[in-house]
Symmetry: C2
């Protein structure tokens, strides 16, 4: 089932993603982020977005289409082990659709879903070099958690996701 999603700029359709969306999402990411690292980055995105997320986290995730073309998605889940928390794992927006509020809309939907399931904290992470992501999360009300290192004035968690995989860690109280 899709929900119409009207912005001042354009009409979109919002729905839950499913397993059949997995390969199309990986394919549009290659198109959107073509310049970012080539085949190796493409493979890394596939490993970060295994099919299991499109099988088992569908209820807490969202996908936006425009004329049946995927233009944005958010993969998130309610933490099974931390009953007060939810987590946003991966978000993508078609660069051609930026500025239409899709990212903010997806986050607001996920916040509402999290609140409706009793969650009071949302977490997310990003790469320290991703200045746009930091600015976006700050606008959405996230704070960047303190870290033992600094990159361009931002607190960094070194080796957060493994050796060499530094991250900024975001937290928002709902």
């Amino acid at each position: 089932m899709t929900t119409p999603l009207s912005t001042p700029w354009r009409h979109y359709d919002l729905r839950r993603p499913g397993p059949e969306d997995h390969l199309p999402v990986l394919a549009v990411l290659d198109t959107w982020w073509d310049g970012m690292g080539g085949p190796e980055a493409s493979r890394q995105r596939a490993l970060l977005l295994p099919k299991l997320m499109f099988q088992h986290f569908t209820e807490s995730s969202f996908l936006v289409t425009s004329d049946e073309r995927i233009v944005a998605f958010l993969i998130g889940f309610l933490s099974p082990s931390r009953p007060a928390e939810s987590y946003i794992h991966f978000v993508g927006v078609d660069p051609a659709e930026r500025g239409n509020g899709l990212g903010a809309e997806l986050y607001e939907r996920f916040f509402a879903y999290s609140r409706a399931h009793g969650r009071s904290v949302v977490r997310a992470i990003t790469s320290p070099v991703n200045k746009g992501s930091h600015a976006f999360h700050t606008r959405m009300g996230f704070v960047t958690e303190p870290g033992p290192e600094e990159f361009d004035g931002l607190p960094v968690q070194p080796d957060y996701d493994g050796p060499g995989l530094d991250r900024l860690s975001f937290r928002k109280n709902l």
Copy 2:
């Protein structure tokens, strides 16, 4: 809290993993599977095992130590979107500890946890080249789901996890 885990061969301790186990697990995987692909494979394992799994899936996961040394672990979860299913995402056993029944013990614990939470199906996947994993899952009662291609007589799901990431798909009824 740890639980003693006695096998006919040796004493182990079983507990839930936590965030502090994430980097040590990635480090022992590099030791255990050193010959398998070098630094690129190490990075791929880190992407397949993000810290979020050691933060949010801890209740459904298990870690085994011997004299405080990590010797085996299982990362799994109850599917949020498929109420009858649970999923085993990643399992590792120290090659030096093989033959002591640790893999089977971890699977049995996960089956029991899944049953206790009303799950009737467990799923897992593996790479088609991993003959040992196929044999193990078959011994544990999994069936390999039909696939449109074949590799060495086994049914393969081509591009299951992304372009070039073929998988065998296992299912077991509890």
